[in-house]
């Protein structure tokens, strides 16, 4: 009888193992769950950081909320997982999160080797250097022999190595995994320079004890197109995430904001009618409700509103639109037609 019990137990285990083999379509899993699990930064002010009351806020957080608004009609159906730079891709690969909205740079090796798909860029950035004004350094070319604080496993690390090699300068890295620890070490003086994406530097400086004492050097040494990412294997989910980001940009191009979107429903402009679902078709082809874009704009806002709310000139980061302005205003934000 003991033998029978053992055999039954083993058979049961085999059956449970059987269900793990097939990873399943991401979109179906998300719809069944009823919320999106988004991987975010957790330590960069302006992009993905909880505020003093514990509410998540930031550009990437709003992107995740836009995806939830598109799929569920409710921007609050998101759960956030803070991830370090070293954990972020493994978390996405393994299925721990559904989408990575964590200021990740799109590169060839990441797209091809990691089994990820990056979607539309939600922030065009570049790498810069943050130094204390006390050092009296005016340009990045004067940093020979400096000690530089950098996060491990990022394009930042590689770009700094390339920049210093190209300019025949030497440098010493101080490499700490946690963004908050790294900032603390920099402000305590362990290293001369903090290097990261310029927007992250602005965010780090904004919450420092003495923001006016630090300056971002003029050299931007790399291109960092920051985009959300999903896993290979589910093209429909990828399209939804992609066009959720593009919907916000397209809305700004069409002049639709969260304030006037209800009046825009009555617009005679065919492009706006197709975009907001007054003329049906877009939602069905994506597998979403026809009001998916309307929900995004109503609950989250268009790209301009999201930018100004999180990192714009009136926030403590004080960033100009720059490359992130619409293509009609000299920037790179350009949406394909929504038809």
């Amino acid at each position: 009888m003991k033998l029978t019990k053992v055999l039954v137990l083993v058979l049961g285990l085999c059956l449970t193992f059987g269900t793990f083999a097939y990873a399943g379509k991401d979109l179906d899993a998300v719809k069944a769950k009823g919320y999106i699990q988004a991987g975010v930064n957790g330590s960069v002010f302006g992009f993905g950081m909880p505020d003093a009351k514990g509410h998540w806020a930031g550009l990437d957080v709003d992107t995740a909320r836009a995806i939830a608004a598109a799929i569920f009609g409710d921007a609050s159906k998101v759960k956030y997982t803070p991830l370090s730079a070293q954990q972020r891709f493994t978390a996405l690969q393994s299925g721990e999160i559904d989408v990575l909205t964590r200021n990740a740079t799109r590169t060839l090796s990441r797209e091809s080797q990691l089994g990820l798909n990056f979607v539309a860029v939600n922030y065009y950035d570049g790498q810069g250097f943050l130094v204390s004004k006390k050092l009296g350094v005016k340009s990045a070319k004067e940093l020979d022999g400096a000690t530089i604080c950098v996060l491990p496993g990022t394009t930042t690390e590689q770009n700094a190595a390339d920049f210093f090699r190209t300019n025949n300068m030497s440098w010493k890295p101080v490499v700490i995994e946690s963004t908050a620890e790294l900032a603390k070490t920099f402000f305590a003086g362990r290293c001369d320079v903090l290097t990261s994406d310029a927007s992250q530097l602005a965010g780090t400086r904004a919450i420092a004890a003495n923001p006016k004492g630090y300056v971002i050097l003029p050299e931007i040494i790399s291109k960092e197109p920051l985009a959300p990412a999903v896993r290979h294997g589910d093209d429909q989910f990828r399209d939804i995430v992609d066009f959720s980001v593009l919907a916000m940009i397209n809305a700004e191009e069409l002049g639709i904001t969260s304030k006037n979107v209800d009046e825009m429903l009555k617009s005679k402009n065919p492009a706006i009618q197709r975009f907001l679902g007054v003329t049906p078709g877009n939602g069905k082809s994506l597998g979403l409700d026809e009001k998916w874009a309307y929900n995004i704009i109503k609950q989250v806002g268009n790209y301009g509103e999201v930018f100004e709310r999180n990192v714009g000139v009136n926030t403590s980061l004080g960033l100009e639109r720059g490359l992130n302005a619409l293509w009609t205003n000299g920037g790179l934000m350009y949406s394909p037609p929504f038809k």
């Binding site: 033998l3 089994g115 491990p152 890295p173 101080v174 362990r190 294997g233």
Partner: protein, 398 residues
């Protein structure tokens, strides 16, 4: 009456025991089934992983070893730059871990023994201070201790431009402690060789001295003579080579000090934190070992006229070591594994370098497997050596 003959087996009247009631045969059958199941599950897991990785087009295999690493490492014992391969970067990580583990184990054993013996001292203050040290260090989580020492090193010391120089040639700042070292000269390898020669000669002299003592009863001060020779003979070599005095001095050039030997705050914090934490445990082990000795041994040793120090050295420690060595091995392995916490304070140990490699190549499975294999090799070598030493010290009993 003829006694019953019990030597011939009774022929069973019924048929042979059926297969499923024969305990021996059943055991073999179940073991074969279990083996097949384990093999089946392993094959299933392996092929499932492979299929999932291929479906998501994630790269597999160790081909990335030859690729360019393109990241810098803060400190390394061998020459390394961002244009070297991943394999070389991982080697730097291994050497850094070995450096911390090796020095850490030696310092922990010494400090732990001292604190353990102090805890048992008849001096009230000494034993209470040792006791307080043990309690505090054992009970605070090691990661917090590492953060604490790291913060001490980079917060309490001034930046390079206002560095402290208590002695000409020693620089203390928040970038590390930099010491002037002698300029490279052919005298120094020769001195090193002479040092080794004196150590080996001293060991042989010690053995000869012991044998002489057994035969004639006269003690031979082998220890004192060896110490004297270690100081005098290398100095003689130094003088013979022309007494070179050129020093490689640390100089502030630009942002940091160049030249001399640098001990970074990361290395010092890791070493200090790990040594203090582990030595508290070693102190308790040493105390347990010493207390395991029969009181009669100490009384007998004192009765034949040995001083306290000699009692400890000649009677107690040789016996206590048999109790101390196995748990001490565990603590050495703990220190080696705890050194992987270096990633939290910025020291470039093997786990930190491997993590960066995983992140850049995306191959998490190969990376973690590598980390496991490397630490397994470290741990197995340490315990192999310590088990050999344990057998060497074992009491020869029946």
């Amino acid at each position: 009456m003829k006694p019953k003959d019990n030597s011939t087996p009774i022929k069973p009247a019924e048929a042979a025991v059926p297969f499923w009631r024969d305990a021996g045969k059943r055991a073999i059958f179940i073991q074969i089934i279990a083996l097949f199941m384990v093999g089946g599950v392993s094959y299933y897991l392996f092929s499932n992983t492979q299929a999932n990785l291929a479906r998501q087009s994630i790269a597999t295999g160790f081909g990335f070893f030859g690729k360019e690493a393109s990241f810098e490492i803060g400190e390394s014992l061998i020459r390394y730059s961002a244009s070297d391969s991943y394999a070389r970067a991982l080697l730097v990580g291994v050497l850094n871990t070995l450096q911390v583990a090796f020095i850490g184990i030696i310092l922990t054993t010494i400090l732990g023994s001292i604190v353990g013996v102090a805890r048992l001292s008849t001096n009230w203050l000494l034993s209470k201070v040792a006791g307080a040290f043990i309690e505090v260090m054992q009970n605070i989580p090691v990661l917090l201790q590492l953060f604490f020492w790291y913060a001490i090193f980079y917060e309490s010391f001034p930046p390079p431009r206002q560095a402290l120089t208590p002695v000409n040639g020693i620089v203390l700042c928040n970038r590390g402690f930099i010491f002037a070292i002698p300029e490279a000269h052919s005298a120094y390898p020769a001195m090193g060789l002479m040092f080794l020669a004196v150590l080996i000669g001293g060991w042989f002299m010690n053995r000869w001295g012991h044998r002489r003592q057994e035969l004639t009863g006269q003690a031979f001060p082998a220890g004192r003579i060896t110490i004297a020779m270690i100081i005098i003979l290398p100095l003689l070599i130094w003088a013979l080579y022309g007494a070179p005095t050129a020093m490689n001095m640390p100089e502030l050039r630009g942002f940091n000090f160049q030249g001399g030997l640098t001990l970074s705050p990361e290395f010092m914090a890791l070493l200090l934190g790990l040594v203090l934490y582990t030595s508290a445990f070693v102190a308790e082990i040493v105390r347990a070992g010493i207390q395991s000795i029969n009181r009669g041994q100490i009384e007998a040793a004192k009765a034949i006229g040995l001083r306290s120090g000699q009692v400890l050295q000649l009677v107690i420690f040789p016996q206590a070591l048999r109790v101390i060595i196995p748990p001490l091995t565990s603590q050495m392995l703990n220190l080696t594994k705890n050194s992987s916490l270096a990633v939290a304070i910025g020291y470039a140990d093997f786990v930190a370098v491997a993590n960066t490699t995983i992140n850049q190549t995306g191959q998490a499975i190969e990376g973690v497997a590598m980390i496991m294999v490397v630490y397994l090799v470290f741990s197995l070598s340490t315990s192999l050596f310590m088990n050999w030493y344990n057998k060497h010290m074992a009491l020869v009993e029946r």
